[in-house]
C-alpha cells in the first residue's frame, strides 16, 4: 500500500464490555484513491470498525487516524468537522422520509453552506444526474424502489464532495440489476471524484469486482488481507470457506452451546 494513508487503524481494540471484545488488535491502512473492502460474516465486527472510523465509537485501545486526524481524541465539534469531509451510505439508504428526493440531496448544502438557491438547484440536479435519477427529483422516498432509494442516498452522501466515502452493506436486499448499478457507481464515482472508499460487505462477488484491496475480519480480528486476485488464490481455510460460501469450516455452523445430550436431558427434566 502507498504511504500517507487516508485511514490508518493501528492495533485497535473495542468492546461494549471488558469481558467481550468486538474488535481486538485490528490494524489496517487505506491508501488515497482506493476502494477497500472490509468483509466478514454478520456480527464479526466490521460495522463496528466502520463506526470507529466515522467517530461514532471510541476505540478502547490503539489509534484510529482518519484524514490525518486521531479520531479518539476529538470532541463532538471535532468529530462533526471531520464528518464534513466524509460521506456515508447506510444499509437501507436512511433517506429523510418527510422530504422529497431533491430536498434530501440538498439537505447538507442548505445546512452547511450559504449557497444561493439556484446554485443549490444546479448542484442537486448534477448529483442526481450522476446517479441517473434527475427525473425523480420531485418524488418522495416512499415512491422509490429499494435500488433507487440507495442511489438517492448515494447522491445525498456525495452532496458536498467528501474525500472519504463509507458504505455500510451497500448491496443488501437489492435485485441483480440495482446491485450492479450501485456497484458500478461506487467505483466510477470514487475514481472520477478522486475519493477514497471503504465498502463494508459480505457479498463476495460484488465486492471483489470493484475493490482494490480486501480485509477479511472474523471474530474481531483481521484474518486475511490482499487484492481480490490474491485472496481467490489464498489457501487460508477461512477465506476459502467465505469466498465459496461453505457451511462448515473454521466458522462453525453451530452457535456455541453446551453438549447436545446434556441440553436434551435438562429439557426432559423441566
Amino acid at each position: 500500500m502507498a504511504t500517507a494513508p487516508i485511514v490508518e487503524i493501528e492495533k485497535v481494540s473495542f468492546g461494549y464490555d471488558a469481558a467481550r471484545l468486538v474488535l481486538s488488535d485490528v490494524s489496517l491502512r487505506i491508501a488515497p484513491g482506493s476502494v477497500v473492502g472490509i468483509m466478514g460474516q454478520s456480527g464479526c465486527g466490521k460495522t463496528t470498525l466502520l463506526r470507529i472510523i466515522a467517530g461514532w465509537l471510541r476505540a478502547g485501545a490503539g489509534a484510529a487516524r482518519v484524514l490525518g486526524t486521531e479520531v479518539s481524541g476529538l470532541d463532538a465539534k471535532g468529530i462533526f468537522a471531520l464528518r464534513r469531509k466524509m460521506g456515508m451510505l447506510f444499509q437501507f439508504g436512511a433517506l429523510f422520509t418527510d422530504m422529497t428526493v431533491f430536498d434530501n440531496v440538498a439537505f447538507q448544502m442548505r445546512e452547511h453552506t450559504d449557497l444561493p438557491a439556484d446554485l443549490v438547484n444546479d448542484l442537486v440536479l448534477m448529483k442526481l444526474e450522476a446517479v441517473g435519477l434527475r427525473g425523480a427529483a420531485r418524488l418522495m422516498p416512499s415512491e422509490l424502489s429499494g435500488g433507487m432509494a440507495r442511489r438517492v442516498a448515494l447522491a445525498r452522501a456525495m452532496a458536498l464532495d467528501p474525500q472519504l466515502m463509507l458504505y455500510d452493506e451497500p448491496f443488501t436486499g437489492l435485485d441483480p440489476i440495482s446491485l450492479g448499478v450501485i456497484a458500478r457507481l461506487v467505483r466510477t464515482l470514487n475514481d472520477s471524484l478522486g475519493q477514497t472508499s471503504i465498502v463494508v460487505s459480505h457479498d463476495v462477488e460484488e465486492c471483489f469486482a470493484i475493490v482494490d484491496y480486501v480485509y477479511f475480519v472474523s471474530a474481531g480480528r483481521v484474518v486475511a488481507e490482499g487484492t481480490p486476485q490474491e485472496l481467490r488464490r489464498a489457501d487460508t481455510p477461512f477465506v476459502q470457506q467465505f469466498v465459496r460460501g461453505e457451511t462448515d469450516g473454521p466458522i462453525p455452523f453451530h452457535y456455541p452451546a453446551p453438549a447436545y445430550e446434556a441440553d436434551l436431558a435438562a429439557a426432559a427434566h423441566v
Partner: protein, 272 residues
C-alpha cells in the same frame, strides 16, 4: 436450559425492586439532561423559525379539529350540568361564570393537554422513534448535523407554542358551547350570562393562571414526547412502547402538575 434458574424468594424480589427503582431514577436523570441539552441547542429552531413553524402546523394546526370539537361538547355538557345545579339555588344566570371559570382555570388546560398528548405527543414520539429506527437520525449525525438541534428542538418549541393556543381555543369553544345550551336552548338571560362572566373572570387570577398551566403542560408533554422518541429502542416494538409511554406518562404528568399548580395558584383565595 443450561443456565441455572434465577433464585426466587424475598431477597430476589427486593433486588428486583431495587433494580427497577434505580433504573427509573437513572432514566429520569437522563431525561433531565436531555431537556437541558434541547434548551441549549435551541438556537437553530429559533433562528430558522421556519423549521418550528412547520412543526407547529403538524402538532398544533392538525390538532385543532379534535380540540375544537371536544371543547364544544365539554362546554355544552357544562351548560347542562351547571344549569341543573345552579337553578336549584336560583342562580341560573351565573351559568356563564361557572362555564368560563371551569374552562379557563381547569378544563381548558387539562383536557386540551390530555388531547394534545394523545394527538400530537404520540405523533412526535412515533416520528422521532421511526427516524431513529430507519437510521435517519444516524444519517443526520453522519452529515455533521446535530439531530437534537435540527429534529428535536423545533418539535419541542412547536409543542410549547401550540399548547397554550390550543387550550385557549378549547376554552373559547367551550364557552360558546355553554352559551348555545344555556342561552339558546335553556333560555338563560343572554345579558346576565355574558356580563356576570365579564365581571367575575379575572385576567390575572383566572386567565393568566390558566395560560401558565397550559404552558407548563405544553413543556411537560412535548419534553416527554421528544425524549421517549429519541430514547426509543429502534424496533417496531420499541417505537410502539415509547408511543404508549408518552401518552400514559404525559397524561399522569398533566394531572399531577395540575394539582400542584392549582394548589399554588388558588389556595388562600383569589388575589391573595
Amino acid at each position: 436450559m443450561s443456565e441455572p434458574m434465577p433464585p426466587a424468594g424475598p431477597r430476589h424480589w427486593v433486588e428486583n425492586l431495587g433494580h427497577h427503582i434505580t433504573s427509573k431514577i437513572w432514566r429520569l436523570g437522563f431525561a433531565a439532561r436531555f431537556f437541558f441539552y434541547v434548551l441549549l441547542h435551541s438556537g437553530t429552531a429559533l433562528r430558522r423559525f421556519g423549521l418550528t413553524i412547520r412543526e407547529i402546523y403538524f402538532a398544533g394546526v392538525l390538532s385543532m379539529i379534535i380540540i375544537l370539537v371536544s371543547g364544544l361538547f365539554v362546554g355544552m355538557v357544562l351548560g347542562l350540568q351547571g344549569y341543573d345545579t345552579l337553578q336549584r339555588y336560583g342562580s341560573g344566570e351565573a351559568l356563564g361564570v361557572l362555564v368560563a371559570l371551569s374552562l379557563v382555570r381547569e378544563l381548558g388546560p387539562v383536557v386540551a393537554g390530555l388531547l394534545f398528548a394523545s394527538r400530537a405527543g404520540s405523533a412526535i414520539t412515533a416520528e422521532i422513534g421511526l427516524m431513529k429506527a430507519t437510521e435517519q437520525i444516524a444519517a443526520m449525525e453522519m452529515m455533521a448535523v446535530d439531530p437534537i438541534a435540527r429534529v428535536v428542538a423545533p418539535r419541542f418549541w412547536a409543542g410549547v407554542i401550540s399548547m397554550p393556543l390550543l387550550a385557549a381555543l378549547f376554552s373559547a369553544m367551550g364557552i360558546f358551547g355553554g352559551y348555545l345550551i344555556g342561552v339558546r336552548l335553556i333560555g338563560v338571560d343572554e345579558g346576565a350570562f355574558w356580563s356576570q362572566m365579564q365581571a367575575s373572570v379575572d385576567v390575572r387570577n383566572d386567565i393568566l393562571n390558566g395560560v401558565i398551566k397550559s404552558v407548563v403542560f405544553g413543556v411537560a408533554v412535548t419534553w416527554i414526547a421528544v425524549f421517549e422518541g429519541y430514547d426509543a429502542t429502534p424496533t417496531a416494538e420499541g417505537v410502539s412502547g415509547a408511543t404508549t409511554r408518552t401518552v400514559v406518562t404525559s397524561s399522569l404528568a398533566i394531572l399531577a402538575l395540575d394539582f400542584v399548580l392549582t394548589a399554588l395558584m388558588f389556595t388562600g383565595g383569589n388575589g391573595q
